[in-house]
Symmetry: C2
Subunit: 223 residues, 2 copies
């Protein structure tokens, strides 16, 4: 009764109770039972597995740095990237309200479903099975981690850099918004007036776009 053999293959986990897999892929717009409770559970499992893995990979790292690395791995952006790599969005069951003409599924729906999948594996196979699945899904993200790298986000680093030089703070403004409500992509400009510099960034949220613009601005300033 495995209805999603391809997804199971990518997850590296074969469900005993396929109904759990169905449920993890069902958004509340589709009906009930849906994946909201599994998402709650999966969020807890993910936090635990990531904490365990970070402690084991980085035996010398301070609690503060571990906390920041974990926050980076479990935030919506990162979840969304992992979910897209697994193709979670291809398997979602959505109601009509969330399924409008070829537009991309909202990132939060996709990343919530990924957490729900982790919760479903946990219920179906226990902690060790969910650990294996999560570490598999996160293999690339974990490999890219730089424990000594910037643990602050780009906007914070940019602000601190400018404050350190007693410069005006950067300003961010939305230049353009594309796509229908809830599936928008944002284009943002970051301006440092005192230096006559500007940089743009884009992303599926205003926050993401601002971070990207700040990153580009940092590149210009450090050159």
């Amino acid at each position: 009764m495995a209805r999603f053999p391809l997804l199971e293959k990518r997850l590296g986990y074969r469900f005993r109770n396929a109904a759990l897999l169905d449920q993890a892929l069902t958004h509340r717009s589709y009906g009930s039972p849906n994946n909201e409770r599994l998402e709650f559970l999966g969020d807890g499992v993910l936090g635990c597995v990531v904490a365990e893995e970070l402690c084991s990979r980085f035996p010398q790292l301070s609690e503060g740095k571990l906390t920041r690395l974990r926050a980076n791995l479990v935030r919506e952006d990162s979840l969304h990237d992992v979910a897209l790599a697994l193709g979670v969005h291809e398997f979602l069951r959505l109601g009509d309200s969330e399924r409008s003409g070829g537009a991309e599924v909202r990132p939060s729906i996709v990343s919530d479903a990924l957490e729900a999948l982790f919760g479903a594996v946990f219920l179906d196979g226990g902690y060790d099975a969910s650990r294996k699945t999560i570490l598999g899904a996160y293999a690339q993200a974990l490999a890219k981690l730089d424990p000594q790298g910037p643990t602050k986000d780009a906007k914070t680093r940019l602000q601190e850099l400018l404050q350190g030089e007693r410069r005006e703070l950067p300003e961010y403004r939305i230049v353009a918004v594309h796509g229908a409500a809830h599936r928008q992509s944002f284009e943002v400009e970051c301006v440092v007036a005192g230096l006559g510099l500007s940089a743009t960034g884009s992303g599926t949220s205003r926050q993401r776009a601002e971070q990207q613009a700040a990153e580009t601005m940092l590149g210009k300033l450090v050159e």
Copy 2:
């Protein structure tokens, strides 16, 4: 080499590697290795175990209510209560800066050490052992949970009640502070001027004292 047989007995867990237990009880003011990394790990383990337990106890509860119940169980107040019941504060290793003449140990130090203990059990005995220890420690708190009870805190409920009656909002002011810095206890008064009512509350933080005062005020208003 079990150095804390009493605490192990209360936790219902016997450490294979007693050094982990030592470390979990060592605050950074004492030196290194201390319990900060174990606290990071224990925080993740606790979140996962509590999520699992709430899902299992309340199979009908919405994700929103589960989230609020979990937040209530893992916040510092609740951790501190659980830690005091286990007597964690009796076993802590603190530096001189945190150990001044008979005063109570700061609540955050005690609750962090409890999380570190959970992390230590996890490292020593795995997920199932930590689950058993956490559920044992939380037995009373879990038994008292009221899934249909107020999921909002007292200050929020009081504000909403007064807004609903188009009354002035309550004001909180600190009446007295006892104890040395970092180990203070607060006495707070909550005043609803329009009704000529006042109520007091006390606690180890301003926030706790305000919540208690709001709870008392709610009692007066609903009488």
